[in-house]
Point group: C2
Chain length 596, copies 2
């Protein structure tokens, strides 16, 4: 395992030049988010990532989480890392000061999260889930509930969890069976079993606040009969003191491919009569409330894909710079393998994809900030619409790509990549979950097709692609040969994306299986093209800075070349996805299940 | 873990219709390989794969190989499986009867190997390495050496290993430092350390015959100063009885991402004065001898990619047929997820790639058989040339694809795929090594570009692509709409492949880094297109059988549809690779190493 050193240089470039940090900081409530303050925040978070979290990553992988005498034991160092997060109020970063948060924009939180996910994804899932619980309570719970639970959740002293999945209700939450029976005192008795509950139990926090989807006795079937409940591990009295242990427990942990240190629990509610729960909002609107926080949760998982890819990149780059093996083609002498053309191609592939994923994730986060804080209702709605469109793409594409990049990272190491001690394989194993949890890639793709494209008849997609077309045309006419190539490839990619959207719009009414069969290739196509758009925007800025001779010229030159690499090596995938969408959807269902 | 059931139906189709089994069986020495006999062999090997090897796969993964008191301990059941292999003379399948083998063609051995790799790759590495040692000794050793070592290696009673890699000599074998000092009795004293030695030591066989690359005291530097030695674990007297333990030992085992039950040893030669070795062939020609057996070894690793993909497919298909979750788009009721369009797309993607990989591997094996047994020297040379061309493609493309398919297999399972008990994750972990050992994908790609394309100025490539063009044209003119689509896509793929070859030929003289940067995308392009060619051939046969109403019509209908799926979903990648090759090679090297 090599050291991790956050790429704050590129993160700040993306924040300032692509995500529009200054614009976000101009919104009411975000005034503190000046470039200077954000710089300090990133530096401090980066230090913690590098010095506290990263060194524990391999330790956590080796030791894993264990269930010992009914308690979840976490690896050495987890306790200290948890304290560090609480002391720095890092969980509270994106939440209002009135609840004890830092009140900074979500886009800054995403940048910080990237570093922590890169440093130690298995650990970072804990504060990430707590932030998710805070979002849900902030947006859906009563003032009284907020007063009881938010203060200690926002500071990260208490942890939060999401209890959705059951053994027969994974992608299909309508099949949930956990029961909630109303009690005379207004509370509910919760009983049932939940699976795949991340950080479902542990001893790090003095209390754990479970958000649980369950069904009332008279609830209608399916997704319209699910309600959301708060189920604390320890009951909380009105003055905030902790009371009795609630009837909820982790009964087993999963043995997983990766993120070994993240306890994935089977949670049992009500083994001894029933767990006490408190309804959030109204009955039967639980799934709707979950969707309120879905954008944050999915964006965060997309950021895991980005973070792991950055970590895998640093690991592979360090090895390639040190390892000497053979004479590169055209070289006069034996030099480190970083000079071998194919090793360089692999490293550039990871670098280019990481930079594109970073830009797309930060842009979505900034749009979510605007959707939250922009005073103008139309602009707010517009930002929300854009963020909603980007959300499944960031989640689906960045996690699939993150895994592929972690695998390339292994490849750069040759045989050493297959040896666990090296550390490259852990990134591969950890990354694999990101395309599965919080909605598989197919779930993201169906969201993109059904809720983000078909629902508004492609209007948002058209808006996005038109903006992209304007830049592609501008760059294709540039005198710089690299900008020209970027513009040309981007225009090709845009055409493929636009054709795919047209096809989806015309195919859906004919046969609902056609868009479903085409959804994942469409999501990947969108990721490749929208990532390429962000790289093109970056290239344009870099060219301008180079022309002006301003700032870190080596960085801008590398940025321009990386964008060019992306255009020549990644964007050409777009027409392949288009072919698979428009010509291939019929071919998907023709072989009957019994002939598979 | 689900049961494994070899797909003998498709294997026999490929053998008979695509690899030309009848043609191979008509060659001198292979007369016994009638379809009937081959059927019996496949049935019996398949039974062993399903009943003996497959149930041990997860056991081996969990228990792993361990070094205990200087001895390599293997998982429960390994001993019995080893005995089964010896009793059936399975290691001897492709070797001459005069040495105790079955004398069957290599293409039959490859079909059998596919089942064993699918059933239990970690176990199968042992007989696979022994077969490699037999090839090397058969083709390069003296008659005396053959008489001493072959009988028990061919029957699989003794095991063989390949000792090439050292810590500073991986892809670059020219850097080998292990020493061989000539002794008065004609033997050599071998000393040095080898790493990544698969099945370097164990107690399954009564003796292990190590083939070791080492350097004589006066050897020229680099690859021209490497010699090949036989170093037995126990000395063997002329009458075949075993003598003293030689000075060679496994000093540690690697802790790896996968193939846990395959002991990957650090081997120390000469810790106590020197291991006794015997020169194979002439001094300083060791690397050349290794290349003699390289085609077999690399083909076998390509078959591992194929085998694991088939296993991952069966695992995912079984899960998809059982797991009920949500209502598929356009469906009237809740049905198993195999009816969800995206699950079907994933399964079809694996199925189509498996069938293409199978066909390409078997075709290469048949060409190797012809290169070995064909009486006509021109035909022999032609077959050898073709096999040599296909070799890096089968190794590189099938292993990269095999891993991607194992990952898709995980995805089909959703969250359960990430849980180790399910078994899907093991296939992913096991598959990851195949693109690394026996020459990484980049090494295969450089072999394809330098030795198989540039050396004959693209003549073989042109020959292959012309054959392909004829079929593409024929099918594009067919009345069946699926054949027509296959022909059209194949023609596009061929054009991309031909353009890529042209580009390589013209770029190489300009700058040697250009073909090196383009090599891996070129290898993948070739895999996709040559795999598509085999699927097109299969589709043509299937159409003819359907028209004639002959045989298993459901199978032929599924084959035609699978080939169509491949054409629409896999072949369109070809132009993307072309873009990355011709337009992207410049972009690879532009960012300086310190700006990565």
């Amino acid at each position: 395992m090599t050291a991790f050193s956050p790429n704050i240089r590129d993160m700040e470039f993306v924040l300032a030049e692509l995500a529009g940090l200054d614009e976000v900081a101009a919104l009411p409530g975000y005034e503190e988010a000046s470039r200077e303050l954000v710089h300090s925040v990133l530096e401090e978070a980066g230090r913690i990532a590098a010095e506290v979290l990263a060194p524990l990553n391999a330790v956590g992988d080796r030791q894993g989480a264990k269930l010992v005498d009914g308690k979840v034991a976490l690896p050495e160092g987890w306790e200290g890392a948890f304290r560090t997060m609480v002391e720095g109020n890092w969980t509270g970063l994106p939440f209002p000061a009135e609840w004890g948060g830092m009140g900074l924009p979500g886009v800054v939180n995403v940048a910080v999260a990237e570093m922590w996910q890169a440093a130690n994804m298995a650990f970072t899932l804990c504060p990430m889930l707590t932030q998710g619980a805070v979002h849900a309570i902030l947006e859906c719970a009563s003032e009284e509930q907020k007063a009881v639970y938010l203060p200690k959740l926002v500071t990260g002293e208490w942890a939060g969890t999401m209890n959705l999945t059951e053994s027969s209700a994974g992608s299909d939450l309508g099949a949930i069976r956990t029961k909630a029976v109303p009690q005379a005192d207004g509370s509910y008795l919760i009983s049932g079993q939940k699976i795949f509950i991340t950080y479902g139990d542990h001893e790090l926090a003095e209390n754990i606040i479970h958000l649980v989807l369950a069904r009332l006795p008279d609830a209608p079937p399916g997704v319209k009969g699910i309600s959301l409940f708060i189920v604390p591990k320890f009951m909380v009295s009105a003055d905030g003191t902790l009371g009795a242990r609630n009837d909820v427990a982790a009964v087993s942990l999963e043995h997983k491919l990766g993120i070994h240190a993240s306890p994935t629990c089977v949670m049992s509610f009500g083994d001894n009569g029933g767990a006490t729960g408190f309804l959030v909002g109204q009955e039967n609107r639980g799934l709707e409330y979950m969707f309120v926080m879905m954008n944050h949760a999915r964006l965060n998982v997309g950021v895991q894909g980005l973070g792991i890819a950055e970590r895998a990149y640093q690991q592979a780059r360090a090895y390639a710079r040190e390892r000497v093996q053979g004479k590169p083609a055209g070289a006069a002498a034996v030099t480190p393998i970083v000079d071998h053309a194919d090793v360089r191609r692999m490293l550039m592939t990871i670098k280019a994809n990481v930079e594109a994923m970073r830009a797309l994730a930060y842009v979505e986060a900034a749009e979510l900030d605007k959707a939250h804080a922009e005073p103008d209702a139309d602009k707010r709605a517009q930002s929300f619409r854009l963020a909603e469109f980007l959300n499944p793409v960031v989640k689906g594409w960045s996690t699939e790509t993150g895994f592929d990049m972690a695998s390339l990272g292994v490849q750069v190491h040759g045989g050493m990549g297959y040896v666990e001690e090296t550390g490259a394989a852990q990134h591969l194993r950890d990354a694999r979950i990101t395309a599965i949890y919080e909605g598989t890639t197919a779930i993201q793709a169906n969201d993109l097709v059904n809720r983000k494209i078909l629902r508004d008849k492609g209007a948002t997609a058209k808006l996005v692609l038109d903006e992209l077309a304007a830049l592609a045309d501008e760059l294709a006419a540039a005198s710089d040969s690299r900008l020209k190539a970027i513009g040309t490839e981007l225009a090709e990619g845009r055409r493929a994306a636009a054709d795919a959207v047209e096809w989806i719009l015309s195919a859906a009414p004919q046969d609902p299986r056609l868009p479903a069969a085409a959804a994942v290739p469409l999501l990947k196509l969108m990721g490749v093209v929208l990532g390429g758009y962000q790289m093109a925007r970056a290239a344009k800025v870099a060219r301008a800075r180079l022309d002006a001779g301003e700032g870190d010229l080596d960085f801008f030159e590398a940025k321009l070349n990386t964008a060019w690499f992306y255009a020549e090596h990644v964007l050409p995938q777009a027409p392949a996805f288009l072919a698979s969408i428009t010509r291939g959807a019929d071919a998907v269902m023709t072989v009957p299940a019994d002939q598979l």
